[in-house]
C-alpha cells in the first residue's frame, strides 16, 4: 500500500489499503502462537495512547499490540493532566510533540478531534474512536473476524442492532463490511436509528424482519447510557424488543448464525446470559483479533517524524 501517515476513517482508505491491512492481520496473529510473542518491527519507536474518554479494552489492546511490535508505549492519563485545567487539544499536542512521539493513538468524545490532531502533528495518528464518527481499528477486527469465520466477507449479511445514532462502531464496521462486499442492515429503537436516506443502509424494526432477511451475523451494540442525557426510549423495553433473548438465541442457534459485539457487554440488556457461551459467539475472537488488527495498522502507518540515522 502507499505510505500513509494516519488512520482516521475507513472511508479515507483505498480498497487496496483495506486488503493489505487485513492480510497482515493474519500474519500478525500467527505471532501469537510463537513462544516469543514479539517482533522488532517498531523497535525504538514511541507510541502514545491519548484517551480523553474512559476505555480499558481498546486502550489495552493497542498497548499490547504496540508492545508486541517492540515499540515503547507511553500512556497519557487525561484525568490527571492539564486538560482538566482547560488546556486546548492543540496545546496538549504541541507539548506531546515536543516529546517526539512517533504514533499517537487518540480517543475523544468529540467527532473530528483525531483529524484535527493529525493535521497538527507529524506523528502517525490512529483514531481509537471519536464521538459518533469513526472507530476504524474496530472495523478491521470485525471484518477480520468475519473473514476468519466464513473465509470471505463478500456475500455475507450482517445486521447491526442497537444505538446506531451514537455508534462509531456501526459507522466504521458497516463501511468496511460494505466495501468488502457484505450487505449490512440496521435495527434499533426508532430515535436511535437514522433514516435510510441518510445512511444508505436498510432499516428493520423487529426481529421477524431480521430472520426473514436471513443474516449470517447478528452484531449487537451496547446501549450507551453515558452518551444519553434525555432518554431516547423506555429502557425497560430494550431486552424484549431488541435484545437476544433465550427464545431468539434458540432460533439463532437453529439457523447457525454468529453473534458479535464490540464490548463491553450489558448482560440481560442486549444479550441474555447464555448467549455468551453460545457456540457461534465470536466476542472473544474479536478481542484476540483486535490485537492483531491493531498491530497490522501500526505496522502499515508511516509517521513523518524525522530520523537522523
Amino acid at each position: 500500500m502507499n505510505p500513509r501517515k494516519d488512520l482516521i476513517t475507513i472511508n479515507s482508505l483505498s480498497d487496496e489499503d483495506i486488503r493489505t491491512i487485513l492480510a497482515s492481520t493474519s500474519a500478525m496473529k500467527d505471532i501469537f502462537t510463537k513462544s516469543v510473542k514479539k517482533v522488532p518491527a517498531l523497535k525504538g519507536k514511541s507510541v502514545l495512547t491519548l484517551f480523553y474518554e474512559p476505555s480499558t479494552r481498546t486502550r489495552s489492546s493497542f498497548e499490547v499490540a504496540a508492545h508486541r511490535l517492540s515499540a515503547d508505549v507511553t500512556t497519557f492519563t487525561v484525568s490527571t493532566s492539564s486538560v482538566v485545567k482547560g488546556e486546548s487539544v492543540h496545546d496538549t499536542i504541541d507539548t506531546l510533540m515536543s516529546m517526539k512521539m512517533d504514533y499517537i493513538i487518540v480517543r475523544h468524545k468529540n467527532s473530528g478531534i483525531p483529524a484535527v490532531i493529525a493535521r497538527h502533528c507529524k506523528a502517525a495518528v490512529i483514531n481509537a474512536g471519536d464521538g459518533a464518527h469513526a472507530h476504524p481499528s474496530q472495523a478491521f477486527l470485525d471484518a477480520f473476524t468475519i473473514q476468519e469465520k466464513y473465509g470471505d466477507v463478500a456475500g455475507r449479511r450482517v445486521v447491526i442492532i442497537g444505538d446506531i445514532l451514537h455508534s462509531r462502531v456501526a459507522r466504521s464496521t458497516s463501511t468496511i463490511l460494505r466495501r468488502l462486499g457484505a450487505q449490512v442492515a440496521y435495527m434499533g429503537p426508532g430515535p436511535l436509528v437514522p433514516p435510510r436516506q441518510h445512511t444508505g443502509i436498510p432499516r428493520f424494526t423487529n426481529w421477524e424482519q431480521i430472520f426473514e432477511w436471513k443474516p449470517d451475523v447478528i452484531y449487537l451494540l451496547r446501549v450507551q447510557n453515558e452518551r444519553i442525557d434525555t432518554p431516547f426510549f423506555p429502557t425497560a423495553d430494550y431486552h424484549a424488543a431488541f435484545g437476544v433473548t433465550e427464545e431468539r438465541l434458540r432460533r439463532i442457534d437453529d439457523l447457525n448464525l454468529s453473534i458479535m459485539h464490540p464490548g463491553p457487554v450489558n448482560r440481560g440488556v442486549e444479550i441474555c446470559d447464555t448467549a455468551m457461551e453460545y457456540r457461534n459467539c465470536l466476542i472473544n475472537n474479536q478481542v484476540e483479533n483486535g490485537i492483531a488488527a491493531r498491530m497490522s495498522i501500526l505496522y502499515h502507518l508511516t509517521p513523518q517524524t524525522q530520523c537522523h540515522d
Binding site: 472511508n11 473530528g112 484535527v116 459518533a132 445512511t199
Partner: protein, 432 residues
C-alpha cells in the same frame, strides 16, 4: 462648490442608462427616482443628455450599475481579543468593500446593549471610527441571559428601534410575552430567530447524510419551525412588530407566508445569504467555516428560501456576519464557534451567485438588501434630527476579485468565499 458628473450609469431598478449631477451649489439636495431617494443628486437625465460644463469633474460609469448602497440587518461585529474600537473600525471597512453603508449591530459579548452607558459609548466610537452607519439592536433581556427584561424605555430614548438577544430564544415564553406587551407601546420591533432550545441543544449541523457520516447530532428543522410559529403567535397576541431572523427551512418560509397572508401586520423576515447558497454538503469533512446556526440545510430549503425572497415572504437578505478567530475555527467541529463573515463580500457574492445566474433581478436585490431593511430599522440621525438616507454606489460587474485572507478587511478569515473569485467590485461613495 463644483459639481461632479456621473455619466452612462446603468440604473439598477430599470436598467436605464442615466447621467447624474452630484451637488448643487452648497445646498444638500435629494431627488427621488422609482421611489428611491438619491441623496446628494441634484439632476438626472437619460444618458447623453446631461450638459457637462468644461473642466467639471466627470466620472464615466459606462458598464457600471448604479444602486443604493446595502443595509445589513444582521451583523455581529465583536472580534474576541480586539478592542471595541478596532472591532467597529474593521466592520465598517469591510462593509464599505461589500457595498454596505449601514448595519444593525447585534448585541454580543463585546457589545451588551442593555443600558444607556454602553449605547452612548458605542455611538461615540462609531462616530469616530466607523466608515459605516451602525445602529445597535438593544437586548431583549439584561445581559442576554433570558431572565429579566432590559430597560426598553431607556434603550428607546437612545434611538433603539429593534430588540434582539442575538439568536437566543428566551427560555421563558411568559417572560417574552410580557416583554412584547411592554415593548409594543414603545413601537419597538422584536428580532428573534425561531428556535426551541431544548430541541436544538447539543446539535451541530443539519440532520442529513453528512451528519450521519461525521457522527454529529442534527438540529431538527422542526425546532426552528415550532420556534417561528411560537414567536409569531406571541407577537400577534401582544400586538408587537416581529422580525424573524435567519430563516433556514422551507417550512419556516411557509409558516411566515401563511401568517402574512392571514393579514398579520408588522411581520417581517430575513434569510442569511449563506442559507441561499450552501447546504450541509459544504460541511464536507468537518469544515468549520460552514458551521452556522441555524445550520446549512438541503438544496430544497435553499430553493424555498429564494422563492420566499422573490415573492416577498422573506423581506431581507442579511450577512449574519460573525467574526471568529482563526484559532477558534481550527478546533474540532463540535468545539469551534458557529458563524461566517460576509460583509467584505456581500454585494459581489450576491451578484456572482444570484444576479449573474439569473436567480434574482437587480430590483429584487434593491428591495431585499437596500430598501426593506432600512424600512424595518428606520435609521435616524438624532443630531441632525432627520432620517438617514442610503448613499448610492457604483458596481462594476466585469471586474473580478480573488478573495484571499489579505483581501478581507473584517479582521477574521471565516469567509466561505475565501479562495474563490467573485465578479464585481464596489465604489462607495460613488464620487470616491
Amino acid at each position: 462648490m463644483t459639481n461632479t458628473y456621473i455619466t452612462n450609469a446603468t440604473w439598477a431598478l430599470t436598467g436605464e442608462k442615466i447621467d447624474l449631477r452630484m451637488g448643487h451649489g452648497d445646498e444638500p439636495i435629494t431627488i427621488h427616482r422609482d421611489g428611491i431617494a438619491l441623496p446628494g443628486i441634484s439632476k438626472v437625465t437619460p444618458a447623453g443628455e446631461m450638459q457637462v460644463p468644461a473642466g467639471a469633474r466627470q466620472i464615466n460609469a459606462e458598464g457600471k450599475i448604479l444602486l443604493p448602497a446595502l443595509f445589513d440587518l444582521h451583523a455581529t461585529i465583536n472580534i474576541d481579543g480586539h478592542s471595541k474600537r478596532e472591532s467597529i473600525y474593521r466592520a465598517g471597512q469591510a462593509a464599505n468593500r461589500g457595498g454596505v453603508w449601514g448595519m444593525l449591530v447585534m448585541p454580543s459579548r463585546g457589545f451588551v446593549f442593555d443600558n444607556a452607558a454602553t449605547l452612548d459609548s458605542f455611538d461615540d466610537a462609531v462616530s469616530q471610527r466607523s466608515l459605516a452607519t451602525m445602529v445597535p439592536a438593544g437586548c431583549i433581556t439584561e445581559g442576554m441571559k433570558g431572565e429579566q427584561q432590559a430597560p426598553y424605555n431607556t434603550l428607546a430614548a437612545r434611538g433603539v428601534t429593534i430588540l434582539s438577544d442575538s439568536g437566543n430564544m428566551p427560555a421563558s415564553l411568559l417572560m417574552l410575552h410580557r416583554a412584547m406587551k411592554y415593548a409594543a407601546e414603545m413601537e419597538l420591533t422584536f428580532a428573534i430567530r425561531g428556535d426551541v432550545p431544548c430541541l436544538s441543544h447539543n446539535t451541530y449541523m443539519h440532520p442529513s447524510s453528512t451528519s450521519y457520516l461525521l457522527g454529529l447530532h442534527g438540529t431538527p428543522a422542526c425546532a426552528e419551525e415550532i420556534g417561528i410559529e411560537t414567536i409569531i403567535r406571541l407577537a400577534k397576541d401582544a400586538g408587537v412588530r416581529l422580525h424573524v431572523q435567519t430563516v433556514s427551512t422551507a417550512e419556516g418560509v411557509e409558516i411566515i407566508r401563511r401568517a402574512k397572508a392571514a393579514g398579520m401586520k408588522g411581520l417581517t423576515a430575513e434569510v442569511a445569504l449563506h442559507h441561499l447558497l450552501y447546504t450541509h454538503e459544504n460541511v464536507g469533512d468537518y469544515d468549520t467555516t460552514f458551521k452556522t446556526v441555524p445550520p446549512l440545510r438541503e438544496s430544497s430549503d435553499c430553493a424555498a428560501l429564494l422563492a420566499g425572497v422573490k415573492d416577498g415572504t422573506i423581506d431581507c437578505i442579511v450577512t449574519d456576519h460573525t467574526p471568529c478567530l482563526p484559532f477558534a475555527k481550527k478546533q474540532d467541529f463540535v468545539s469551534a464557534p458557529q458563524g461566517m463573515v460576509g460583509l467584505d463580500t456581500f454585494l459581489p457574492a450576491i451578484y456572482t451567485h444570484l444576479v449573474k445566474p439569473g436567480k434574482l433581478s437587480w430590483a429584487e436585490v434593491v428591495r431585499a438588501c437596500c430598501t426593506a431593511p432600512v424600512d424595518i430599522v428606520n435609521p435616524y440621525d438624532r443630531e441632525e434630527d432627520v432620517p438617514v438616507a442610503a448613499p448610492l454606489l457604483l458596481f462594476s460587474p466585469d471586474e473580478q476579485q480573488l478573495i484571499t485572507a489579505d483581501s478581507l478587511s473584517c479582521g477574521t478569515t471565516n469567509n466561505p468565499m475565501l479562495g474563490s473569485t467573485l465578479s464585481g467590485t464596489v465604489t462607495l461613495p460613488i464620487n470616491r
